[in-house]
Homo-oligomer: 546 residues x 2
């Protein structure tokens, strides 16, 4: 796994481009600075996709994606082998001009990152910059308006300023006939800009301007990140000043360094390689916000944006739920968190399900030290592995006995699982998944139940939640003081609860579609009117807002 | 300087208490995760104290104080020496139960901390916990409700859980007659709780409960952070269970570890030692929010709260402005940022102004490495030094020739500068300082100017700002499309501008109190009515809201 930080980003960028370009597909993973902006936006079994999207949008409005894992997979048909390359990017929002990002950290999220040995110094000191399209346009505008120099100067630290001064004084020594540190002829010299600094591009930019301002007998041109200084005649100087190429080149260098990781993002968008990720609703939402544009208010607009950017996405969490339905119970996984799923497909039963399963070759993870779950690089690798195993399984399922004749190609792997593409898992919602390239499926969640006390007394959220929780995962919502809705995650639970509360002395529990037939609910006519109105209103509202 | 992190907090706490108790006064400094929540709340020369307070309150609503510097000064009269002790606390808001703090980071603030070599890993991994009074009450309530065990368990990491299991299995081995790792007799054994873990108190708490639940023949008691396990008879066990002391003791240990730095804050509040700080509006606002209570909406309530908590505060920034008025121009400082002021008072002219200036003895800063500005520990030390030099100067000023007779006592130092206490500097406001223990002084800022174009055309914010900025620090505010107010920081600037724009061809500029007498403003009667109404409204509003 190659760790990508500001220091080595430019150097490694060509490799990254090459790996993405030649890959069959890529897998990704991300780490965040927080998850819930407040407890008001917790997920609930009542949530429709639209509601969930809006809740999450609110939750992540200030959250930062601070680590991005990317693994590229290249298939070798001869050897039936996928070879992988993993990258782990640390990201930090560098300031520039009027761009000064504020982001929210959640104490529990940082503690979570601590448990997985996240390096916060690497993040702040050496994180790669990025810009979304709005920020990019702003930076370009500020460059065009000529604000750049002032802004860049302001962004320099004291040490950076010292570097600027040191470089300029090399030139005065040279002009005065002395011998500067760098090798220099009589006509020209090259100033080496310190590359270790986080802001070498900015330093170079300021030095160019400062030298030209101070000395009228020279001109400067950028040269591989350094600065070439040349003695020129007044006529040459005037000519140089009229040409804008050099200025544009320097501005471009600053812009490129600010864009940083966004260039990788743009490449993914451009090449439209299939993208694999595990349980990736939030990942794509934050990517949209951080590298593309602020999240739209409309859920449909979000889906269509993501579908335009990345037309083929596989969520291994969703795939694994479908996968489970296709294998014998004894052979299936018992938990589909990423670590458990990865173990299942590499060490457990999942590995041996089908013949000719491709070999996966990874130099990047040659020792155990590097295999840290919740490191975005490793997690992206794991998601990719799970995908290959499942895609291979679906290939075998589709081809039947023919699958024993020869290994599949990577094109076949993608084709055989294409019915699972663009479905993204929803945690604890009234749907199990979003469909990114079409309308969402109808809800298969069990019906909602209605609960009230038989003595007509008040019902309490906490008490009901505790009462029903022993059957499994539930969410309770008060419609009024005396009436609650209960959503459960499985049909089994629904049956259990209905059975337990059939003729219960304290509580009346009924499925929503039974309410019209159950005489208990219609004893008091006033009460029934209110009830009917409330519930109709509630369901109508939801139907309209879905 | 002693760095205080979670690991050594408990061990060092008694020293800290002793040092604060025996000090004459303490000086403090803080570092933040951000400064401006958005550009909407920038400081302006128009701001009244109330307006400034509300802006800052908005700005820091989610900001975290992540480093707190504290220096204690003890006076030795015989030796005319202050001896100092400096502490630098890293603070991180640990999660507990429903307490899960979200805080905002500003990219430029983190970059600023980078320039000063702040260790972000130390902050997150090893920061000391804290609770304000609201959180404290919440934690106590959750403890009282018996939620603690569940909450603590949930907070444990996987490694912590492994520690819990390992400790419990030592006890089962012991009970089964085997030899556990720890030394144990037949009747009793001590389990060593790993102290290196960030959550050893939580582990201990869970282990107590887990052991008691699993084994009915034992009882556990806390013993210096470890756990003593004793074999007991059923009668003894029942008796133990009835006594609540142990449970209370354990809960208390958890609570103490959660309070962490708030115990130091409480001590400062309790002992009411004079507190020295440099330019400390924000420091006190964030301290109020983070260790005491959310900031009140009323500026007066804030002042009275701070005055109750800390009845004697000295702001060395404010003091230095007053100081400058009392010395010859040639002898005065040229910049009163903390580093410059410190240099002035230790190496520059400020050191030699008065005889008998006390010696300051600091073992903590015996080498240059430790003297890092914007490390809260070092900055607090510097503020203290500046205070002593200025207090001594005021002593000499008050005593005249008598000051040559003998050194002053520390009581005299405080007494001679008491007229400067509880005045806190305001940056770029319409007042120069807040008065914490009384009404704020009337504004001495120059009058506001009114600007319009002579041709009655539109005025533009950016253009006017640039136009007047060449005279110094200005703020421009549009009252309407065609009318602007301009505030400047000094009377000299006001004169310069009025002189330059006297009979200016494009712009008419007039001081606010002149407007009634200047015929130009009253040429168009309709226009003048609107102007008068607008301005009266504006100044009336401000007068009422001050």
């Amino acid at each position: 796994m190659t760790e990508i930080v500001r220091e080595n980003f430019e150097q490694k960028f060509p490799d990254i481009v090459k790996d993405i370009k030649s890959s069959t597909f890529v897998s990704i993973d991300t780490e965040f600075s927080g998850l819930l902006s407040s407890d008001d936006f917790k997920s609930s079994l009542f949530d429709s996709p639209q509601e969930r999207y809006l809740k999450q949008r609110e939750n992540i409005s200030d959250v930062l994606l601070l680590q991005f894992g990317l693994t590229t997979f290249i298939f070798d048909r001869e050897k039936n082998t996928y070879s992988s390359k993993s990258y782990c990017f640390y990201l930090f929002p560098h300031t520039f001009g009027s761009i000064d990002v504020r982001f929210k950290c959640q104490a529990s999220s940082l503690e979570f990152l601590c448990h997985h040995k996240f390096d916060f110094n690497k993040f702040v000191y050496n994180g790669v910059s990025f810009l979304n399209e709005i920020q990019d346009a702003k930076a370009q505008q500020e460059l065009k308006d000529g604000h750049l120099l002032r802004l860049v100067e302001r962004a320099l630290s004291h040490e950076d300023e010292e570097s600027v001064q040191a470089l300029c004084s090399q030139v005065s020594i040279w002009l005065a006939g002395g011998k500067p540190e760098a090798t220099a002829t009589e006509k020209t010299m090259v100033l080496e800009v310190p590359k270790s600094s986080q802001s070498s591009q900015c330093i170079a930019y300021v030095v160019h301007h400062e030298l030209r301002r101070r000395f009228s007998v020279i001109w400067t041109v950028p040269e591989e990140g350094n600065i070439r200084v040349m003695k020129v005649s007044p006529t040459e100087r005037t000519m140089m000043e009229r040409s804008l190429t050099n200025e544009a080149e320097m501005q471009n260098a600053v812009l490129l360094s600010l864009r940083g990781f966004s260039r990788v993002f743009k490449l993914l968008v451009e090449l439209k390689k299939p993208i694999i990720a595990h349980n990736c609703t939030l990942d794509f939402m934050i990517m949209h916000k951080q590298f593309y544009k602020p999240l739209p208010k409309s859920y449909q607009a979000f889906k269509s944006n993501i579908n335009n950017l990345f037309p083929v996405i596989y969520d291994t969490k969703y795939m694994s739920s479908e996968f489970k339905k296709s294998v014998r119970r004894a052979d299936a996984w018992t938990s589909n968190t990423l670590p458990d799923l990865f173990r299942y497909f590499t060490l457990g039963k999942g590995f041996q399900l089908v013949a000719y399963s491709p070999v996966i070759d990874s130099e990047d993870y040659d020792n155990e030290e590097k295999k840290k779950f919740h490191d975005a690089g490793w997690d992206s690798y794991c998601a990719g592995i799970c995908f290959i195993r499942m895609a291979h399984f679906y290939g075998a399922l589709a081809m039947g006995r023919l699958s024993l004749a020869r290994p599949f190609t990577s094109t076949e792997h993608l084709a055989f699982s294409s019915h699972l593409s663009n479905r993204i898992n929803i945690i604890r919602g009234n749907l199990s998944h979003f469909v990114m390239d079409g309308p969402d499926p109808p809800s298969h969640r069990p019906e909602v139940m209605i609960v009230k006390r038989r003595d007509g007394g008040r019902v309490h959220l906490d008490e009901l939640t505790e009462r029903f929780s022993k059957h499994g995962s539930v969410d309770v919502k008060l419609v009024s003081d005396k009436l609650a809705l209960v959503a459960v995650s499985t049909k089994g639970m629904l049956q259990d609860i209905c059975r337990e509360y059939y003729k219960h002395p304290e509580y009346a529990v009924v499925k929503y579609n039974r309410i019209h037939h159950d005489p208990f609910w219609w004893t008091a006519s006033w009460c029934s009117l209110v009830l009917l109105a409330t519930l109709s209103g509630f369901f109508m509202y939801r139907a309209l807002h879905r």
